[in-house]
């Protein structure tokens, strides 16, 4: 009984329940056809949303006003640079990965420099820097789309028994980041800052260092995702990050993380990412046009948030 209650108290329950309901509604319409295929696809695409959302979640947990709007630009930059360096050669996969991560880290350092040294609010700082880095990506890639190394393409699209290998790797990474959140001084400091930055400082925590690391980490995750998405979709495209801006924020919030900061939730990211993808699939399956699909997506997001808020409001 108390186990059940503890389960019901979990903030991520809503996201999973919503995802399940939508999946059932979809396969009810197709009379069971393609239900498994939909799940496989959902896992693949959810992995990318979850990866960017992990970084975004840590940033949002730092407290009100903290958000990284440069994720799409970072993804594009990391994807474009790493694809060009690898130039389709399998042996370059690891150096390419390191370069993608390095691009992400660089963006993070630049962002935090603007926030800390120039005291620019994070929203505007990351927005401005995203303009700069998007230009850099455009200028660097010259509009040529370079194919990823075959091995990378195979890995990112590898599916075993209906489960994408990338999703398994993503789940392990999520687990690791959950341990980081709860069991390291860094993770504790992030949640402490989000609850009360002044108290965190007075408790002797390294507030500036941790905020810096968090923004860099968010950039690194965006860089990683840019690298993987490029491998998955056959090369870096200039607009490939755009859908992940809204997705990263929506996934974090629907997943049960507090937008006001101080409380984060990793399992919920998967539920929320699945929910968003399945929602689009369902609306497609039902044969709605783009307009209705968008309207319903928006309405459902707002409805989920409104329902979830009943528990969150203290």
């Amino acid at each position: 009984m108390s186990l059940l209650r503890r389960l019901l108290d979990k903030p991520w329950l809503g996201a999973y329940a919503g995802a399940l309901a939508i999946w059932l509604a979809t396969i009810a319409f197709t009379e069971g056809q393609g239900g498994a295929g939909v799940l496989t696809a959902a896992l693949s695409f959810a992995t990318f949303s979850v990866l960017v959302a992990i970084g975004q979640m840590y940033v949002i947990t730092l407290g009100p006003g903290n958000v990284d709007l440069s994720i799409p630009a970072t993804m594009t930059l990391a994807g474009a640079v790493s694809m060009k360096i690898m130039d389709g050669n399998d042996p370059m996969i690891v150096p390419g990965l390191l370069i993608a991560l390095g691009c992400g880290a660089g963006v993070g350092v630049f962002n935090y420099g603007l926030i800390r040294l120039l005291r620019i609010p994070p929203i505007i700082a990351t927005l401005s820097s995203s303009f700069v880095f998007l230009s850099a990506a455009i200028s660097y890639s010259r509009g040529i789309r370079i194919k990823p190394p075959p091995l990378l393409a195979d890995f990112t699209t590898w599916i075993v028994a209906g489960i994408p290998v990338l999703a398994v790797a993503g789940a392990l990474l999520t687990l690791a980041m959950s341990v980081v959140l709860h069991r390291t001084v860094f993770g504790r400091t992030v949640t402490a800052i989000g609850q009360n930055p002044r108290a965190a400082r007075l408790a002797g925590l390294h507030v500036d260092r941790v905020r810096f690391a968090t923004y860099v980490m968010c950039g690194v995750f965006a860089g990683l995702t840019g690298y993987l998405v490029s491998g998955f979709s056959g090369g870096a495209a200039l607009n490939m990050g755009s859908e992940y801006l809204l997705a990263s924020i929506a996934v974090v919030v629907i997943g049960g993380t507090s937008v006001a900061g101080g409380f984060a939730n990793l399992p919920g990211l998967w539920g929320a990412a699945m929910l968003l993808f399945l929602l689009v699939t369902m609306l497609n399956t039902y044969g709605f046009g783009a307009g209705i699909r968008l309207v319903l997506t928006g309405v459902i997001i707002i409805a989920v948030i409104t329902l979830a808020s009943r528990k969150a409001v203290r």
Binding site: G65, V67, L69, L114, L118, R119, I120, P121, I123, I124, A125, L127, S128, S129, S130, F131, V132, F133, L134, S135, A136, I138, S139, L246, I249, A250, V253, V259, A260, G289, A290, G291, I292, R293, L294, V295, L296, T297, G298, V299, I301, I302, I305, T306, S309, V313
Partner: protein, 313 residues
Amino acid sequence: MNTALLARNARILLPTLSFVVILLAVFWLQPRAMSYVGLNLLLNLALPIAFATIAQMFVITVNDLDLSLGAYVGFVACVGATWLGEQPALGVLVLAAGIAVYAAVGALIHLRNLPSIVVTLGMSFVWLGLAILVLPTPGGKAPDWLRALMTWKTPIVPFAIYALLALAIIVHFGLMRSAYGAVLRGAGGNPRSVERAGWSLLRTKMVMFALAGVFGMFAGLALVGLTTSGDANIALRYTLLSIAGVILGGGEFTGGRISPVGAVIGAMTLTLAGSFLSFLRLDPDWQIGAQGVILIIVLALRVLINRAEARTA
């Protein structure tokens, strides 16, 4: 009195200065811009952006953020390019309903204590979807009266300049000088105390969001009047431009510290920055990036000035 006056105006001093600098730079690069036609070309696109910036400013005043503004402006433009001309009654009704939805979103955010960025993020999908429903492919035609208004050949300086001036003055008097305006701004500065004095915070929130809806609608109509045809995606960048415009104009994200005059100047600065960069014959790849750099420079200047002020205070 002098120091008080100075402190009040310091907020819009920097935006004004940045605007003048960038205007001079444009004139220097392109002397032909110093003419009626040139100014018109430079500034007519500033009008919709200024309307959107003012709309965003209302929401920022009460410590919220509207991430759906660009999609909403696009929706209005689509309605303007279709129903408003073909079936004016229906068009007006739909636009009024849009404003009502804005007020309802404000109420929802207040009553359920929801984060505005998430709710408006959801609303951005809704507006974009509605825009596509109204106008599935780019096209349509702006009503003649709107077209005529936006291309009105006013004496001495172009229409856009009169309109921008009127916008700044009207909103300044409405929000900064009127009695209820003080309450609205107070609701951003110290909501608890405003509530304690007997004002309804629900009402202030709804009024501010409805005003954002009204001015966002003007933005959409001005835009469709200039471009003559509509497109659901026409104004998506207005969301971020409008936020940047408010901040550039001396506003702050929290605490109800905003300046309508500054916001209009901020919007004009952003528009001019675009033209300035194209006159520079900058590599087109770096156009967006240069906008980012300009934004960073202006904000950095503001920090330096604020710091110097804090030292002398």
